[in-house]
Symmetry: C2
Subunit: 252 residues, 2 copies
């Protein structure tokens, strides 16, 4: 049902879903900024406000940029594969650097305030995601951008890369939700249960995060919305299919 | 690459992943029980212990049974579709009923203790998931089990049903993580940061929940592991394809 072979074809509904994802993603970043600005005293690298750098950086890096990096192959579906690949890798690098700044902020803040590190479920999930995200980037770079890996190696690794990528994105959203809940309980204490404006705003931010990730996931999982292989890529993959026809599908 | 057309074929790695999912799922239920039994005084429908019915029921219903209901089409891949469908629907009904008991438990507990309802991000996410899960079940029943819906209607709705089903499963896991973090911060207070046994156990439970959902998601997303259509189903779907060949792939 899908047009294939390098034809410049874009499914009708795709641009609307991509637009929706970007509106949601930018809203998530804006609402995070509004929360920190209106109720948490804004941003600074010094003093207690250093903490606020953490949620903002994590949302920009691990949610918005990471989500957009996953969408690159859907959005730039008719560009050369190499260009798209480099953009995908670059967006993930930006996400990693911004998230690293966010991590440094929270560790420095904890040290300054003499708080314990890495005891909460939020911190366990968050650190797990960040480490795996870095490993995934290194593996992705070695397999897909570094010229060494063979065609068959790339094809075998690709489904694992895609699965881990989507999983890490979802786990990032989960960690963010945990962080919001933790910040609200610690910050508002018993006032959280009185439906004060900050609590409601940050809960809404949680729902917006869920909506953003759901739309990104929806775009990624529509089979017909995948990047169609260009004519020359298709010829290569045909050769590969002929060579490996004997492989068992479940043996990977 | 996949054997098709009613052949009784099971991909080599599938049973191992299914076994892993079941080990993880049962471990999650057992660790939840151990947490509530060892550190929270066990279960009862009366008094303060009524709260403990909530996490156990939600984990059994919305995590373990819901996850298993999603796997039914992969596990019973060579059974008649109707049998598999009924099992899928039944597991979801059990999940709904058990989750409903868990919800009643927490609302009754809140009433007894004079606590506010539905103010936290955990409660917002949890209630959203439960309501959508109920709607999804009703829609699924009307489209796929009730005899009225036409073949083309079912085929159009199926991808949406599958996407919403997977999303609700992941959101259930997210809500459970939020609930664990909330229970630990409220229950342990400043002791949470001292790495006490309860905190570590419940954090590990959180990681096990993530592992269970990741394995379920992995099984669901392997294309070659999908249920192969039987000969008679394939013939029907061929006719359908011929009839609808003109449809635009992006128009749904």
């Amino acid at each position: 049902m899908e047009a294939s072979g390098g034809m410049a074809h874009t499914p009708t509904a795709l641009p609307y879903f991509v637009a929706l994802s970007q509106v949601l993603g930018l809203t998530v970043v804006a609402v995070t900024g509004a929360w920190l600005g209106l109720y948490r005293g804004g941003l600074a690298w010094e003093g207690a406000l250093q903490f606020n750098v953490h949620p903002l950086c994590m949302v920009i890096g691990m949610i918005f940029l990471q989500g957009d990096a996953l969408l690159v192959y859907r959005v730039f579906r008719n560009e050369a594969k190499r260009t798209t690949k480099i953009l995908h890798g670059l967006l993930h690098v930006f996400a990693l650097i911004i998230a690293l700044v966010g991590l440094v902020a929270v560790f420095e803040y904890h040290k300054k305030m003499n708080y314990a590190d890495l005891y909460s479920l939020h911190s366990w999930c968050g650190l797990l995601v960040f480490v795996l995200y870095f490993v995934q980037w290194l593996m992705g770079f070695s397999f897909f951008l570094f010229p060494g890996a063979s065609f068959s190696l790339r094809n075998g690794y690709r489904p694992q890369h895609v699965f881990l990528g989507a999983t890490l994105f979802l786990l990032s959203v989960g960690s963010a939700l945990l962080g919001i809940e933790e910040a609200l309980i610690f910050g508002l204490k018993s006032k959280y249960s009185e439906f004060q404006a900050e609590g409601v705003l940050a809960n809404v931010l949680g729902l917006l995060l869920i909506c953003f990730s759901a739309v990104v996931l929806y775009i990624l999982t529509r089979e017909a919305w995948g990047r169609p292989p260009r004519a020359e890529e298709q010829a290569l993959s045909m050769d590969f299919k002929t060579l490996t026809e004997g492989d068992s599908p479940g043996s990977q």
